[in-house]
Amino acid sequence: MDIDAHVESLDMPENLILLWSERARTDLASKVGDRVITGQDLARNGRGPFISTATGQIRAIDDFRGPDGHDYLAVAIKAKSQDSFDPTLKAIEDIASAAPLELRWAINRAGFNTLSSISSDPTLWPPVDVVILSALDLDPVSIANQQAFREHGDQVESACQLLLRSTGGSRCLLAVPQNLSHVAHNISGRTATVVLVPAVYPNGLPEILARKYGAGLLMRGSNEGVVGNTLVVPIEHALAMVECLHSGKPLVEKTITFSSGQNGKPKNFRVRIGTPLAEVLHKAGTEPQPRDKLILNGIMNGYTCFSDEQPITSTTDSVHLQRWSEVFAFQNAACTNCGKCNAVCPVELEVNLLGRFSEYGIFEKCLALGAENCVECGLCAFVCPARRPLVQFIVHAKHAIKAETFRAVSMKEVMDSDTQGPIPPAIKLFDTSPEEDPSKE
């Protein structure tokens, strides 16, 4: 598919909303009424950077339940049209000679969350095996990565060096969609190995890239720790890293694709991070009606917004406006065992069984079938002739498994701390054996 490469820039909106994942007000150094400048770190010392993307005044601070189900701290800024950049951000002239830790701090400070999602403390970033720079986009409609790759192909070499040097990875892969192979041929330098990837969904998903081309498992961080060995960085982010480090400026802008309807021509915008969706919709000349769906990051595995005040974040690639008449409803139907879901599943799960077990609350079977490995790409539900809500079933099971793991772990901790009592039995997840009655002894 030939993509429309025309990108329109959006003016600085009057009000910006910045989102900070899983944080509370106490993590914030600023308060309502404070004046901030572009690139200023609003976080308290040691709580990880939270960069203001505009110059202006903090209008409000509130808790916000994001459409992706995560809790956010939202900071609204009344922005001026002129930027004054934070002077504490320092430019790094020569990436090749800078110390890795210095690079890590600079990347973190410039506001990139690709790596800091693992830990906000750059000294704690775990060793990476393979770094994949992805020029593929999550969604077939979206163009952010392909566009960045086409425009700044000459910078790709430095981006690879920067990522390898800062993460300590052993090798770097450049995942290029097949339709852009001619751009990949023109890249000088041999830091990265180019892999041509068919530009079909779900190949752009980081989990799939790591599985098919990387060392196997995508690197993810959570409260419990770290999983994985392959770091997937969108090339737009990697190129922006190089630019920000060279210029000493923070990450303030993002390219997004707006599409609407089934046949509507997608439009591309360059927007300030924190711009509310309403501004983008207004610029695109459309307006959401009641009961429409506003979908971020693709119709296959994106999420819907509660309102058009939802801001663009550094990870927003595309915005899709789906009219009520196009909204698809799943059905409460029984599985016909056709096996289409198993055939399309990119991680080879037994979706037909998972769906049924989850439907009837038999989560221990879901655990045994590997429900946690689901990447929620949505292909199973997309092909299901019975129109079962398969992704919802699996996510439901994943949630139950997570809750059960948490329960088991905390129970084990309580038992381990109780040195007076008997030795606790090994904790099993979903242990259904009846509990012994202590009164019988």
Binding site: E224, M300, C338, E350
Partner: protein, 336 residues
């Protein structure tokens, strides 16, 4: 400003448009050439059997669902498909009460007792057929030589597999393989239309209504095992090509064994299932009292489906490692 009420839902936000009705419709379209050829050879009798079979299958499904107070799903077309398939493997002159009873038994015992479409451990069509076969007074209705004696179709009115069973491969020289392939042979209304079934089956594979693994491995199984028999003793066993072009092999490979509920869903399960169906078909043809073994071999392999579906690599789940265990100490970190 008035708040805007947007629709929110989990992903995905679109669908391929596939429906169960669509799958059933593909089956009906794929069977159409065989139906036409059956009507061409056997006339109104074929229409009579097919009509009664489809109607009684749908009626059985509607009645049992009404009785069990379940939503009535005959509109999805699955009952119509299984009714039509049963008619296609029966001779054109079979009495209608036999067709009706077989369909009621197939739909109720084979399908709805277990929870309906997708939950059936056996193919309802095959259950219906097997009930006719094992009913002592009805088994004669499946004897094609006797049942089709009054028809003038222009080809040899002898069931090739019955000839093989009775007289051995030496008597098969009368059958021209090309004529067999073109459907000029005695057999079920549609099951003998080999070329039509092959085209219809390929259409189903292309449409994605069935997966290619089961039909391919079914046919491979037939060829391999009958090839072994044939090479061992050419005087006692028929050639693989003859086995492929006669009886229910073609309709079995593409239409009977691929029924969703009674076939595996994972690739290696499908391979073993298909190969097993083909293998037992030839073994039953060679050593059992029945001329054809397709139906019983499919029923037999269907019983192994839960086991065959376990032929799949187990999912490995990586547990998170605490950050502190992964990262090196501060001194080690700096030289990186």
């Amino acid at each position: 400003m008035k708040p805007l009420n947007l629709t929110v839902s989990p992903s995905p936000h679109c669908h391929s448009g596939a429906r169960i009705t669509g799958v059933s419709f593909s089956f009906l379209v794929a069977l159409l050439p065989a139906v036409v050829l059956g009507v061409y050879y056997y006339g109104l009798d074929a229409i009579r059997v097919m009509g009664a079979s489809v109607a009684s299958a749908m009626l059985a499904e509607a009645l049992i669902q009404k009785l069990l107070r379940k939503p009535i799903t005959i509109a999805d077309g699955s009952a119509a498909v299984s009714g039509l398939l049963l008619a296609l493997i029966l001779p054109a002159s079979v009495p209608l009460y036999v067709v009706v009873v077989a369909n009621f038994a197939g739909i109720i015992i084979g399908k709805q007792c277990f929870g309906g479409l997708g939950a059936n451990p056996l193919n309802p069509t095959l259950v219906g057929w097997a009930i006719i076969r094992i009913t002592k007074t009805w088994a004669g209705f499946l004897d094609f030589d006797l049942m089709l004696i009054n028809y003038d179709t222009g080809f040899i009115l002898q069931y090739p597999l019955a000839v093989l069973k009775a007289k051995g491969p030496a008597a098969l020289s009368r059958f021209d393989l090309v004529a067999l392939f073109l459907g000029k042979q005695t057999g079920g209304i549609g099951a003998s239309a080999i070329i039509c079934l092959l085209l219809g089956g390929l259409y189903l594979v292309v449409r994605g209504a069935i997966r290619w693994e089961i039909p391919l491995c079914f046919l491979l199984g037939v060829v391999t095992v009958s090839g072994i028999f044939w090479l061992a003793d050419k005087a006692a066993y028929a050639s693989p090509l003859f086995h492929l072009l006669t009886g229910n092999v073609m309709i079995g490979a593409f239409f009977l064994s691929t029924e969703n509920g009674s076939s595996p869903v994972n690739r290696w399960g499908m391979v073993v299932f298909g190969f097993g169906c083909g293998t037992f078909t030839v073994i039953l043809r060679a050593w059992s009292i029945y001329p054809d073994g397709v139906v019983f071999s499919c029923l037999l392999m269907s019983l192994f489906v839960p086991m065959l579906d376990k032929l799949k690599a187990k999912q490995r789940i990586e547990r998170p490692t605490p950050l502190t265990a992964l990262t090196k100490t501060a001194e080690e970190r700096t030289p990186l």
